[in-house]
């Protein structure tokens, strides 16, 4: 870097002084004196700040906000992408007002999809929570050898392609020759149809999700567990607490915030389940009784499935947004209750 470039940097005192150590531009209010020493910081808070967030904002407007607004508009149209003038033009599309929404609220597929989504969410969240905390508790063990290796290996399922996971699990869950039915057969259980049976298919999907995310969440729990001071465990063991009692009364309360966090993240993920049921069902309509139709699949099927009704798909998207808002509100209330419970 040339010296002029260095001098142009807002972090450098223009009068030629060398930069102070730890200028901490992120928390300028922390030390008033330090801020006065840095006249450049004021502008850093102003226009430079905008510049730094610009890449995200620009991307968000193009790929986040604009599609949301545009799909809100086309939800009021009978929108056929190939019928009109093409591109983003609304020319040639039929305005239908609230017709898509009225029809949607009478469409039993919507309620099937909501039911399926929450059922899959239930089966994937709670068993996963138990597994993750259990894994974290094992990794917390200070006598464990090759810690980094185990922690790394927990992340492997998470970086595997969803589609690959779905294909492999689809084979494991095969009705006739799948290994799971083979094992169950050893115990005299009849072959379960993991695609057609509603509950079995939801559990199959939940298994894929759990497999992918249990390790990831275990690491989050582990980080949180490591933050619990050792003194608490020491005094607990001095008081004669067993390993289970230590876990129950020291570890678990310490994980409360993390549990809330993983629940919220899990809920967001749960409302977006798509690739797994699509691959298992093999069709975008989620099977013969829509047993695998999730909300996002319903959106996809309406807009990009056989009918290509983009307006209807957009209306489904808006309904999903409303559901997410409701769930977020519930999350918020539960979190607040948990937080106040902690304060007691």
């Amino acid at each position: 870097m040339s010296s002029t470039a260095v001098n142009d940097s807002p972090l450098i005192d223009k009068k030629g002084g060398r930069p102070k150590t730890s200028p901490s531009p992120w928390k300028p209010k922390k030390n008033k004196k330090e801020r006065e020493d840095f006249p450049g910081l004021r502008s850093l808070n102003g226009k430079w700040g905008y510049l730094f967030v610009a890449p995200f904002i620009v991307m968000f407007i193009i790929f986040g906000m604009f599609p949301v607004l545009y799909s809100t508009v086309i939800a009021f149209y009978e929108f056929d992408p190939l019928a009109g003038a093409g591109g983003l033009s609304l020319e040639g599309q039929t305005f239908v007002g609230f017709e898509n929404f009225i029809y949607l609220l009478q469409d039993d597929r919507l309620y099937t999809a909501i039911g399926n989504t929450f059922d899959i969410w239930f089966w994937s969240t709670f068993p996963q929570m138990v597994i993750s905390i259990g894994l974290a508790a094992v990794l917390r063990n200070r006598f464990l050898k090759a810690k980094t290796f185990w922690r790394t290996i927990l992340l492997v399922p998470n970086i595997t392609s969803v589609l690959a996971v779905a294909i492999v699990f689809g084979q494991l869950f095969g009705r006739e020759f799948g290994i799971i039915n083979w094992v169950l057969g050893l115990f005299g259980v009849d072959n379960i149809d993991f695609v057609e049976d509603p509950l079995a298919s939801h559990i199959a999907i939940a298994t894929m999700i759990t497999w992918r995310w249990a390790g990831y969440n275990a690491l989050i729990f582990l980080a949180s567990m490591l933050a619990i001071p050792d003194e608490l465990y020491e005094s607990a063991s001095l008081d004669g607490a067993s390993a289970w009692q230590q876990f129950r009364y020291v570890t678990l309360p310490g994980l409360r915030n993390t549990i809330t966090f993983t629940l919220i993240v899990g809920t967001i993920g749960g409302l977006q389940v798509f690739a797994e049921p699509l691959t298992l069902a093999g069709t975008t309509d989620g099977g013969s009784t829509h047993q695998l139709l999730t909300l996002t699949m319903f959106l996809y099927d309406s807009a990009f499935g056989a009918s290509s009704k983009w307006g209807y798909g957009a209306a489904v998207g808006i309904i999903i947004t409303i559901i997410v808002l409701i769930v977020s509100l519930v999350n918020f209330l539960v979190t607040r209750k948990l937080a106040s419970g902690e304060a007691k």
């Binding site: 093409g86 689809g170 006739e176 013969s288 499935g305 290509s308």
Partner: protein, 487 residues
């Protein structure tokens, strides 16, 4: 004989043009052009691409493969609305009805004319006059020469080569020609000779002398007879075999489409309008196909394995099912998935006479940048000689009826299928089919009826009645679903 005459005709035409137009090779040489092709599966065969590059050194073929559904769905819709995309796009017949509704997205191939770019191939030289090797070796080890295409050919002039009903699948509602057919998925019955002998339906001697397929074909001239034979087969299965889920046919659901395609109308009637008239509620042929499928289900002749599932691939190897309805392209699939069953398969004819499943059109989108080069390629790639080559090397059945009489099709025997004359069997079935008017939502309606059959066949519980779905309930549900789709 026909093919020879045809080739000779082309050669003469080519020579005549070569002389008549007398474009010096060097003058037209090398304006490099890249043709982008969007395709799926094995529509574009790599060996033929190599050959085309030999005779067209100036052409680069950039091939992008994706899964069929995103390709013919979102990708092509996006391409058409944004008016940019490939020079050639492969459209599968299940999407044909949809894309025929939007001819504006495609170039009318009647307006295209092949350039003289292909005429040198028959002389064994590339465009610049340099000698190239334009021979290939087929699956039987025979050495053959790559075909050529004359100049000034439009879609109209090549139309007589193709099966009329197959050609219609690439014609838009405004009568423009939007796609040229690749292979045709003629439908027949593939059966396991060893299992049929075991069940006493044919004798080992009949399998050996190659009459087993005729014996079976005669046993099932109609679908109800086919179900009867299935029952006889099931009666011979041991209790252990039945418990292991073995069956006569892989999946009874496949019968539906086979029966429906044997009619002249499906879900739409051509009433002279672009959209056609929806007749899914009144067309008795649909109910016949539905009932036939459920009769087969009631007779319990099918396994519960879904096609293209992992169970299905395993079942194919293990002899879990004795028959499957096999489109011509399925022969190659069986060979790949169950190579150890070589010689144990054979092909009998489809009950009710003739059927089709699958097939593809090559189209030139209206926004293509290199239309001329794309048309030259399509005209060459889908010409009878090249389709013959694809048949001889990959087993995909040509849609160019002009070569069915050729000895290399007529007398072609496949050792994998007990030396069945597959060329003769498949060409007999598909020439019986009639054009069917395909509508925009064909695929969705197919899906809804398929789901309806699935509800009954899988024995699922109807949430409203708390009992397994009956045929009538499921039919009503499918009609209701289609009403939603077509509203």
């Amino acid at each position: 004989m026909k093919i020879k005459k045809f080739a000779a005709g082309l050669a003469i035409a080519g020579l005549a043009l070569g002389v008549g137009v007398s474009v010096p090779a060097t003058a037209t040489a090398a304006t490099p052009v890249t043709i982008t092709i969007w395709t799926f599966g094995d529509v574009i065969e790599p060996n033929l691409i190599k050959q085309y590059k030999l005779i067209h050194p100036e052409v680069t073929l950039s091939i992008k493969k994706s899964d069929l559904d995103p390709l013919n769905g979102t990708n092509m819709i996006t391409a058409c609305t944004s008016k940019q995309g490939p020079d050639i796009a492969a459209v599968e017949v299940s999407y044909a009805g949809y894309w025929r509704s939007y001819p504006k997205c495609f170039t009318d191939l009647r307006t295209m004319k092949t350039s003289d770019a292909n005429v040198n191939a028959d002389k064994g030289t590339d465009k610049n006059g340099n000698p190239v090797d334009v021979t290939y070796i087929d699956s039987t080890g025979k050495k053959l020469t790559v075909g050529t295409v004359a100049a000034n050919l439009s879609a109209t002039s090549i139309k007589p080569n193709y099966l009329p009903w197959r050609w219609e699948q690439g014609v838009g509602y405004d009568d423009s020609v939007i796609g040229i057919p690749t292979d045709v998925g003629g439908l027949e019955v593939a059966f396991r000779t060893d299992l049929m002998v075991k069940a006493g339906l044919v004798t080992a001697a009949q399998v050996k002398n190659g009459t087993a397929r005729d014996v079976l074909s005669k046993k099932w001239p109609t679908w109800s007879k086919f179900i009867e034979v299935g029952k006889q087969y099931m009666a011979k299965l041991s209790a252990a075999d039945k418990k292991a889920g073995k069956g006569f046919i892989d999946n009874v659901g496949t019968i539906y489409a086979a029966v429906l395609n044997q009619g002249t109308e499906k879900y739409y009637r051509n009433n002279g309008t672009d959209q056609g008239q929806l007749i899914y509620k009144t067309n008795k042929n649909i109910k016949t196909a539905w009932d036939t499928t459920l009769n087969a289900h009631k007779a319990a002749i099918g396994t519960r394995i879904g096609q293209f599932s992992s169970d299905w691939n395993i079942g194919m190897n293990k002899g879990t099912f004795a028959t499957m309805l096999a489109p011509a392209w399925m022969m190659d699939y069986i060979k790949q998935q169950a190579p150890d069953t070589k010689g144990k398969w054979d092909i009998a004819s489809l009950p009710g006479g003739g059927g089709n499943q699958g097939g593809t059109q090559l189209t030139i989108p209206s926004y293509a940048k290199n239309k001329q080069a794309a048309w030259d390629f399509i005209a060459w790639y889908l010409a009878p000689e090249q389709q013959l080559q694809v048949f001889r090397t990959y087993g995909l059945f040509p849609s160019t009826k002009s070569i069915y009489g050729d000895s290399s099709v007529k007398d072609f025997k496949d050792p994998f299928f007990n030396n069945a004359p597959v060329g003769k069997i498949y060409s007999t079935g598909i020439t019986k089919l009639k054009p069917i008017f395909e509508g925009k939502l064909q695929r969705g309606i197919d899906q809804a009826f398929g789901a309806g059959l699935g509800r009954v066949v899988s024995g699922k519980k109807n949430e409203k009645t708390k009992k397994p779905w009956t045929s009538a309930e499921s039919w009503a549900q499918s009609i209701a679903d289609i009403d939603k789709l077509t509203r």
